[in-house]
Symmetry: C2
Subunit: 246 residues, 2 copies
């Protein structure tokens, strides 16, 4: 057993991307061993973020992007009057902070919704490494592009759906992302409050609550506080295509 000695600080434990069970979510496939070892050297190390704490705040100088190892985050913007607009919810394997590239400062806040751990990837080094690993460059463009496509989807949701449709789309999206991580597609725990869901969906918290109650009423879901059980996932999907029938 190679137990670490006391002199090895926990902070020095580097992430080994090559060993990470999330690498298929966050890295390109088909890297060589050599490429992996370069990558392992790049990743700056893990950082724990306690529930409620910020990983970064709007205005902070941009230095790194972050891959979530464990936990759950929201990103939001604060308006002058103190109201917040949640712009995204992020889970393990997803990448945060790319908004900061354009101005060399973050434009939103990233707040942990549960105790979480992230891998920091210093951006300057990432740009450097992309010169050496073409697959990484290609992959990273894809990641950013995916973010743009995701945002377009949210714009569509906010621009053209009604409250219940928005909530159905939201739950189905979560379901799909949990599935991709090996969790149940139909049973999950909401890490965010109704107010945060509402902010993300452009609704008030009461409206979110009412929509959930309505779904329960129709037998689409069981809601117990933050625990959601999707009973009729096809019925939920029909809520989205329903617009096609009007």
């Amino acid at each position: 057993m190679n137990a670490p000695t006391a002199s090895v600080s926990l902070n020095n434990i580097k992430v080994a991307c090559s060993q990470c069970n999330l690498r298929e979510l966050c890295l390109p496939v088909g890297l060589t061993e050599q490429e992996f070892s370069k990558l392992d050297a790049l990743v700056g190390g893990r950082r724990k973020v306690k529930r409620g704490q910020s990983l970064y705040r709007a205005g902070d100088p941009f230095e790194a992007i972050y891959a979530i190892r464990t936990g759950f985050f929201k990103t939001d913007l604060l308006l002058e009057d103190g109201r917040e607009q949640v712009t995204g919810f992020l889970m393990a394997g997803e990448i945060m902070g790319m908004d900061g590239i354009s101005n060399e400062a973050h434009t939103c806040n990233a707040v942990a919704l549960e105790d979480s751990e992230v891998c920091g990837i210093p951006y300057a080094m990432l740009e450097q490494l992309q010169q050496e690993i073409r697959a990484l460059q290609h992959h990273f463009y894809k990641v950013m592009s995916r973010e743009i496509v995701r945002d377009q989807g949210v714009m569509m949701l906010l621009g053209s759906m009604r409250a219940e449709e928005r909530l159905a789309a939201f739950l189905l999206n979560l379901s799909q992302r949990f599935t991709a991580r090996g969790y149940s597609p139909t049973d999950f725990h909401l890490r965010m409050t109704r107010e945060e869901i509402g902010s993300y969906l452009g609704l008030k918290l009461e409206t979110v609550s009412r929509a959930l109650s309505a779904f329960q009423e129709s037998g689409l879901v069981n809601v117990q506080q933050k625990h959601i059980q999707i009973v009729d996932i096809d019925g939920m999907k029909k809520m989205l295509s329903r617009q096609a029938n009007c």
Copy 2:
């Protein structure tokens, strides 16, 4: 006079980025002459798109991104039921098509709202050239990041503003972009219909029309069909910060 012979097809006229008066909008600053000549070789050539025509459609294989030389575009998604969601309006110097990187296919349609001309930039070659010109890599990441930030702004608009606030934000955004291109900040021509504005802002065309009428009523703007004259630009800006006072 070096008049082209008949054998010189118009299609062969290459763009010279180094000569383009929009290069400051679309390229990094500080490129060397040598770098510029590489770039000139890269850009695939101009393409004219007549009003109403598509530059690309959702589902088209992704081959290139496009910089707008002249004209005006909208990007939109078509829902199953035929309704459209406009996701952006783009003008000279702006770059389109980055949504296509993630799936190697475009996810939206790009339609010219007036006779336009674009520079196609084959994506594979762009990735290649970034290996040679670091400044280009950095710049292009910034462009994509800016797109993400822009989308966040739209999400905020759709998620937390009322009809008149949305329209005010929209007009001020146009004003600012026209200004950056040397046009009047207060006098401009809308290239899109009320319906397209409405789709972009998550409103019905009648609501857009009413909001414009209300602005005219309050002496904020003069509206004559598609010609907009902003009379009280500070008043418009107050419409946005107004939320802070409630």
